[in-house]
C-alpha cells in the first residue's frame, strides 16, 4: 500500500504536535533528586527529605574538586523537606519549595527510617512503586538515625552522599557481603509469597556510612536487626559473600590461619520426606590463605584447612538460618520455591518452615597461597 505524501506529512505533524516537546526541560534547569528519605513526623504524618545538588556543587563536581557538603560555605547539595499525611502529599509539599522542576528519575538512594510504622512503611514502598518518573533501580536501605542526622551527614570521601552509596553498592565485589537492595528487587520480595524482605542498615560513621548489618522484615514489620556477624553468615547463605575473611583456629592451636578473599556460591533447596520439610543450603567456597607456618604449606595441610573451614562455615551458616527460622522470616526464599510447586499451600508453609530441619553442606577450596595486595 502506498501512502500519500500528504497523509504521511499530516501524521508526522500531528505526532510532533502531540509529543509535547515544548514541555521538555533541560537537565540543568531541573532539581535533580539524588537521594530521598522517609521519616516519621509528628501526628502520624511522614516527612520526606530530598538531597538535591546545588549549581555550585555541580560545577565543582564537573571540575573534579570536592566540596564541604551542606554544612560548608559552598554546599554541594541542599536538603528539601516536606511533611504530609502520606508520602505523596509530603513529596508535593517538598516540591512546592523547590526552585525548579523536581526530577526523581535520577534518584540513586532511598532511605526508610526504622521508626516508621508498618503501615507507613508499606505506604511509602507503595508510593515509590506508583511514582511514574521514579527510577526503580534506586538502592534502598534503612536507618535508625534521624532525618537531620542522616541527610546532613556528608562522608569525607564524597561531596554527595548519594554518590557514596552509588559507589559502594555499584561495586558488588568490593564489599565483604554485598547488601545492595534496589527498589525494584524489594518490590519483588514484597509481592512474592514465600520470601521475606531484608534491607541494609545504613549508619553514619566518622569515615562514611557503616553498612554491615541486615534488617529483616516480616510482613512490613521490623523483625530483627542482625549483628554484623550474623549478617555475614546469613549473607553467605544468600550467596552475597564476595570478599569475606575468616580465621581458622583449629589447625594450628594458638596460631589462627587467615583465609581471605572468600567467595561463596549458594544453592538453597528444599526436600519433602514423609511430610517433613527439609531445608538445605549447599555452599561452594573459594578462598586464599595468607600465610602458613614454614614447611606446612603442603597438600595435606591445605586439605585439613579446607575441611576445618567448611565445618566452621557450615555450623555458623546453619545457626544463622535457624535464627531466621525462629524469627519467622525467610530471606533466602525457600518458601518461594516451595509455593511455586504448591501454590495452594500458603497457610501450611509457615508451620512447615518453623519445624523444618536445616542442613548446610559446604565445599571449601583453598585455591591460592600468599599475600594479597
Amino acid at each position: 500500500m502506498r501512502m500519500p505524501g500528504r497523509f504521511v506529512a499530516f501524521l508526522t505533524g500531528l505526532s510532533l504536535l502531540l509529543a509535547g516537546c515544548w514541555d521538555n526541560r533541560p537537565i540543568d534547569t531541573r532539581a535533580l533528586v539524588l537521594m530521598m528519605g522517609v521519616w516519621p513526623a509528628t501526628g502520624g504524618r511522614v516527612e520526606v527529605a530530598m538531597e538535591i545538588p546545588t549549581p555550585s556543587g555541580l560545577t565543582t563536581l564537573t571540575g573534579g574538586g570536592t566540596s564541604a557538603g551542606s554544612q560548608g560555605a559552598s554546599a554541594a547539595y541542599y536538603v528539601l523537606t516536606g511533611t504530609g499525611s502520606n508520602v505523596m502529599s509530603a513529596l508535593s509539599n517538598a516540591e512546592s519549595m523547590a526552585n525548579g522542576d523536581v526530577y526523581l528519575g535520577q534518584t540513586g538512594m532511598v532511605i526508610l527510617s526504622t521508626e516508621l510504622s508498618p503501615q507507613a512503611r508499606k505506604m511509602a514502598l507503595e508510593a515509590l512503586a506508583r511514582i511514574g518518573s521514579f527510577d526503580k533501580t534506586a538502592y534502598l536501605g534503612v536507618t535508625e538515625s534521624s532525618e537531620r542526622a542522616f541527610m546532613d551527614f556528608t562522608p569525607p570521601s564524597s561531596p554527595l552522599p548519594a554518590l557514596y552509596f552509588l559507589n559502594v553498592f555499584g561495586c558488588k565485589s568490593c564489599m565483604p557481603v554485598a547488601l545492595d537492595q534496589t527498589v525494584w528487587t524489594s518490590e519483588q520480595d514484597r509481592y512474592t509469597a514465600g520470601v521475606s524482605l531484608w534491607l541494609p542498615l545504613l549508619v553514619p560513621a566518622a569515615k562514611g556510612f557503616r553498612i554491615n548489618q541486615m534488617v529483616l522484615f516480616r510482613d512490613n514489620r521490623l523483625a530483627a536487626i542482625l549483628s554484623p556477624t550474623a549478617t555475614r553468615w546469613l549473607g553467605m547463605a544468600l550467596g552475597r559473600t564476595h570478599k569475606a575473611a575468616f580465621g581458622v583456629m583449629t589447625i594450628f592451636p594458638g596460631a589462627p590461619v587467615a583465609v581471605r578473599a572468600v567467595t561463596a556460591k549458594s544453592s538453597p533447596s528444599y526436600r519433602m520426606t514423609h511430610g517433613q520439610l527439609h531445608l538445605r543450603v549447599a555452599l561452594n567456597l573459594v578462598g586464599t590463605v595468607d600465610l602458613l607456618p614454614a614447611g606446612d604449606a603442603t597438600a595435606p595441610t591445605i586439605h585439613r584447612l579446607d575441611t576445618a573451614l567448611a565445618r566452621m562455615v557450615a555450623h555458623k551458616v546453619a545457626h544463622a538460618l535457624v535464627l531466621a527460622q525462629k524469627l519467622g522470616v525467610d530471606p533466602v526464599g525457600f518458601g518461594r520455591a516451595y509455593l511455586f510447586r504448591h501454590p495452594h499451600a500458603g497457610r501450611e508453609w509457615a508451620r512447615l518452615y518453623r519445624k523444618a530441619p536445616v542442613t548446610v553442606t559446604v565445599r571449601a577450596v583453598i585455591h591460592n597461597l600468599g599475600d594479597l595486595t
Partner: protein, 594 residues
C-alpha cells in the same frame, strides 16, 4: 546586441581577416556578395535618421543586424544556386567567405584567411580556424607553408584535381577528412578543426589541428590516498580516454561517443568493457543519455542528474570520481562510466551505498587496515548523525537513561548556559556548516588557517562567551570530524539532512524518536534503486558474497568473482592463488641447481 543593449550599436566588427595576399585576383573572381547591399544600407541610414523619429542607436543596431543577415543570405543564395541546397557548400570561396564572415566572423577568435594554392597556379582558397584551439605549429608548417609552396602540375588545374592533390599530397596533418554540410562544418570549426575551402571543389577539407589548452594531469585532490596511484583526470576528453586505455589495454574497452547540448554540443562518452559489462546496463545508460535534451552541458551532473529513475533522492545515486584508477577498477567490476568533456570527474553506474565508502586506500594496505578504516567511517556516520541528537534526547527528554555521575557532569557543564540543548546544537551546527562552506570556497592554504581559526578561536571564544558549554564543543567537534570520514563528498549532504531530521526526532520523542527516524532511514535506503540495482545491497537484499567487500574488506584472494549486483556477463575476475610456501622455494632452488 540589439535590442538588448547599445554598446554594439555600430556595425559588427569584422573578424581579423588577414590581408589579401593575392597578387592578382583571377579575372573570373566574382564580387564579394553582400558588399553592395551593405553600402546601400549605410547610404540610406542617414536619410532614415532624419525621416524617422526613432532612436538612431537602435536603428544602427537594426542596420548592422540586417547587414549581417543580408550577407549571410547572399552567401546562402550562391550555394543554393549552385547546389540546389541551402546547407551545402557550393564550391564558391567568395560565398563561403561571406557566409562565414557574417555568421562566426564577428568573433575575434575566428580567423578567415584568403590564400592561394601553389606557387605558379595560385588557385584561390580560404582557410578558416578558431585561434587558440588549433596547433599553430601544425597549421603553419604542415598546412599553410605546404599549400603555398607546393607547385601544382599543369594537369592539376581542375578543382577536383587540386582538391585531391591538396588532400593526399600536400597535407601533412595526421587526419584529414572532407565535409560539405555547413552545419557540420561550423561544428568542426568551433571544435578546433581548420577548414580549407578550395575554389570550385564542393567538398571542404577538414584538417585535424585540434590542440586544446589543457590543465596538466595532477593528483586527485578530492580523494587523496596515502599510497597507491595518485593520477587524476583533467578536462580533456581525449586525455580521459588515453588514461583509461593505459590502464585497460584491452580492445574490449569501448568508448561510445554521443553529443549532448544544443549549443555546447558537448562530447559524452559511455565507457564499458564489451563482453564483461551487462549489455542491458550499457544500453539503458546510452538510451537515457540520448534522451537528454538541454542547451548546455558544462559539467557532468547536468547529464548525470537527468538519467536516473528517481532524481530527487536524498542519497546520491551517482558516484563521481576524478581518480583514473577508480574508474578503471569500476569498469573491470562490470560498471559503466559516463565521461563528459570539460569535466575532470567521471560518473560510474550502478552504485550502492557501499560504493561511496570504498577508496583506493582500502585495497593498498592490508585487510586489517582496510577493514579498520571502513569501520572508522561507519563510526564516523554514527557520530555525525547520532551524537548531537543523543545529547538533546538525554539532556532534555530522557535524562533518566544517563548514569548519575554523567548526568551530574553534564548538568554541571551546562550551568549558566542561557540556551537549551537543542538551541546549542543548532548554533554549533550552523557554525560548522558556515566554516565548512567557507573552507570550500577558500584556497587550500587559507582553508587550513580557517580551520584553525574555526576550531580553536571560535570554539574557545564561544565557550568563554557562555553561549555553549564545553561538552557541546567536544560533541560538535566529534560530529564534524565524523562527517569528514566519508570519502565521497556528495554522500555527506544526505547525512547532514538526516542529522536535522534526527534532531527533530530526538527533541520531540527522545530516544524513541531517534529509533523511529533510524527505522525510517533504513526503510528509505531499502526503497532506493539505481539502474535496477538495490541501493542498500549487500545488506538489503542480503548478498553474502558481496559482504566480503562491505564494512569489512576481506583479503584479496577472496575476490574471485565480480560483484553480483552489477550482473556482469563475465562473472569471474580471478582464480584463487595457491602459494605453496616451502614447495615453491624447493622448486626454485632445484631449478637454480640445474
Amino acid at each position: 546586441m540589439w535590442p538588448f543593449g547599445r554598446k554594439s550599436a555600430s556595425s559588427p566588427a569584422p573578424g581579423p581577416v588577414i590581408a589579401d595576399q593575392l597578387e592578382a585576383r583571377p579575372a573570373s573572381e566574382p564580387p564579394v556578395p553582400g558588399a553592395a547591399t551593405a553600402d546601400n544600407i549605410h547610404r540610406i541610414e542617414g536619410t532614415l535618421e532624419s525621416v524617422l523619429r526613432t532612436d538612431p542607436m537602435a536603428l544602427q543596431d537594426a542596420i548592422a543586424e540586417m547587414s549581417a543577415l543580408s550577407g549571410r543570405l547572399e552567401g546562402m543564395l550562391v550555394d543554393f544556386e549552385l547546389t540546389g541546397q541551402l546547407n551545402r557548400f557550393s564550391g564558391s570561396v567568395a560565398a563561403a567567405y561571406a557566409r562565414l564572415n557574417n555568421t562566426v566572423g564577428g568573433s575575434p577568435d575566428i580567423i578567415l584567411r584568403q590564400m592561394t594554392i601553389g606557387q605558379t597556379l595560385k588557385w584561390p582558397a580560404l582557410l578558416a580556424f578558431a585561434d587558440g584551439m588549433v596547433d599553430n605549429m601544425v597549421l603553419d608548417q604542415d598546412t599553410l607553408r605546404m599549400v603555398e609552396l607546393y607547385d601544382l602540375h599543369a594537369g592539376e588545374s581542375s578543382p577536383e584535381a587540386i582538391h585531391r592533390a591538396v588532400q593526399y599530397s600536400m597535407m601533412t596533418v595526421g587526419h584529414v577528412s572532407t565535409e560539405s554540410d555547413w552545419s557540420k562544418l561550423l561544428d568542426e570549426l568551433t571544435y578546433g578543426s581548420a577548414l580549407l575551402f578550395v575554389e570550385g571543389a564542393p567538398a571542404v577539407l577538414v584538417l585535424d589541428t585540434v590542440k586544446f589548452q589543457a590543465r596538466h594531469i595532477g593528483r586527485a585532490q578530492s580523494e587523496p590516498s596515502i599510497k597507491g596511484p595518485q593520477e587524476a583526470f583533467n578536462e580533456i576528453l581525449l586525455t580521459h580516454m588515453n588514461q583509461l586505455r593505459r590502464r585497460i589495454r584491452s580492445s574490449w574497452l569501448k568508448f561510445d561517443s554521443m553529443t549532448v547540448g544544443g549549443y555546447t554540443k558537448t562530447s559524452v562518452l559511455v565507457a564499458h568493457i564489451e563482453g564483461l559489462t551487462n549489455p542491458e546496463l550499457v544500453s539503458a545508460i546510452k538510451r537515457r543519455v540520448a534522451q537528454v535534451k538541454v542547451d548546455e552541458v558544462q559539467e557532468l551532473h547536468q547529464i548525470a542528474d537527468r538519467i536516473l529513475e528517481r532524481r530527487s533522492t536524498l542519497f546520491p545515486m551517482t558516484r563521481t570520481t576524478e581518480r583514473v584508477d577508480w574508474v578503471a577498477r569500476d569498469l573491470l567490476r562490470g560498471k559503466v562510466a559516463l565521461i563528459v568533456d570539460n569535466d575532470p570527474f567521471v560518473a560510474v553506474y550502478p552504485n550502492t551505498l557501499m560504493d561511496f565508502y570504498q577508496t583506493t586506500q582500502d585495497y593498498v594496505f592490508s585487510t586489517w587496515d582496510g577493514t579498520l578504516v571502513r569501520l572508522v567511517r561507519l563510526l564516523g556516520i554514527i557520530l555525525a548523525v547520532y551524537l548531537m541528537p543523543l545529547y538533546i534526547a538525554l539532556t532534555s527528554v530522557n535524562p533518566d537513561l544517563v548514569p548519575t555521575k554523567l548526568i551530574l557532569t553534564v548538568a554541571g557543564s551546562r550551568q549558566g548556559i542561557p540556551f537549551s540543548p537543542v538551541m546549542e546544537v543548532i548554533i554549533m551546527y550552523i557554525i560548522i556548516e558556515v566554516l565548512r562552506e567557507a573552507a570550500n570556497r577558500l584556497p587550500q592554504q587559507l582553508a587550513t588557517t580557517l580551520g584553525t581559526v574555526g576550531a580553536v578561536v571560535v570554539g574557545t571564544a564561544i565557550v568563554k562567551a557562555g553561549i555553549v558549554d564545553d561538552l557541546m564543543i567536544v560533541i560538535a567537534t566529534l560530529s564534524a570530524l565524523g562527517l569528514f570520514t566519508t570519502p565521497s563528498y556528495e554522500m555527506t549532504a544526505a547525512w547532514r539532512w538526516l542529522f536535522w531530521i534526527m534532531v527533530v526526532g530526538a527533541y520531540a520523542f527522545g530516544i524513541f524518536g531517534m529509533i523511529l527516524v533510524t527505522v525510517g532511514i533504513f526503510t528509505y535506503l531499502c526503497s532506493l534503486e539505481n539502474f535496477g540495482v538495490p541501493f542498500f545491497t549487500p545488506f538489503g537484499p542480503t548478498r553474502i558474497v558481496d559482504l566480503a567487500d562491505s564494512w569489512v574488506r576481506a583479503p584479496a584472494n577472496w575476490f574471485v568473482n565480480r560483484p553480483t549486483y552489477t550482473r556482469p556477463v563475465d562473472v569471474s575476475q580471478a582464480r584463487p592463488t595457491h602459494v605453496r610456501g616451502d614447495m615453491d622455494l624447493y622448486q626454485a632452488q632445484r631449478d637454480a641447481r640445474q
